[in-house]
Symmetry: C2
Subunit: 165 residues, 2 copies
């Protein structure tokens, strides 16, 4: 059974035999799988009335012990501070998050989920977990664990060990 990337590598091999495509194949699979996950996952999220960015931002707040600064949110989502500001404005208007002034640093803001935001988020988390499980359903538990281990090594190598937040 061959997939899109096997076909790609065979095509390269036939016209450019000296090219090493092993690593490129792994990279291509990861990016292509990510693209499919995104497209399908966005449908699930849209059914619940949120975008992916909103979901991830709210999830981050939900699983954190306390409120987070916009800087922390930006770092975690690997995006700019300005982008976070825009997302926060939308979520604030919806009443799902609130800004507070950081008592220990007047410049800074602290963002926390509201009760309503938490209520909205809860069923979405379950729906996404279900979606993710279904997506990986074909893999056995053992394969899933091996895959997780290898992806952990790769992620650590790509962005370094976790800085908590």
């Amino acid at each position: 059974m061959s997939d899109y990337v096997d076909t790609m590598r065979q095509q390269w091999a036939s016209i450019y035999p000296e090219l090493d495509t092993e690593a490129a194949g792994v990279v291509a699979r990861i990016t292509r799988i990510a693209r499919m996950i995104q497209l399908r996952g966005d449908v699930v999220l849209a059914e619940h009335g949120v975008t992916r960015d909103e979901f991830e931002l709210m999830s981050l707040l939900a699983r954190s012990a306390g409120p987070l600064t916009p800087s922390a949110l930006a770092a975690s989502q690997i995006t700019s501070a300005a982008a976070v500001t825009k997302r926060l404005k939308k979520l604030d208007d919806a009443g799902w998050v609130r800004r507070e002034v950081n008592p220990s640093d007047g410049r800074g803001a602290l963002i926390h989920l509201t009760q309503e935001g938490s209520s909205v988020l809860r069923p979405i988390i379950d729906a996404v977990a279900k979606f993710d499980s279904a997506l990986l359903g074909e893999l056995t538990a053992n394969d899933s664990e091996q895959l997780a281990n290898q992806l952990r090594a790769l992620l650590t190598s790509v962005e370094g060990p976790a800085e908590n937040a």
Copy 2:
């Protein structure tokens, strides 16, 4: 050694113990790795004066035996026909691809790389292959093969076996 996703799963476990995050962890790693790959890879491509879309479209033409239709390009890139039209216009203006009328179907177009496009592309392919290898450098050859096998299974499950083109 724990990564971003391990931290995420620990956080979920502490506030929402009944949630199964194994599959979500794999999905999160894939999407996060893909994001990092994209960000870093875009830098490499920008140094060579092309965008990712342009590179992928030209690569697809380069490794195909003959010219391709816009429909085939759209399917391969998992995007709309209109988006392909815009990319083709830009590449055509640059002189890197050309449109021909499909002799066997007057509606259709056939796109092929020009000599210049091929010359521009060649060093970029090598640069990207080098980048990909460096990215996976930490993994041993054996790990890389196992990872490839598991991602193949996952990609096939997510989008089905390869339709050639």
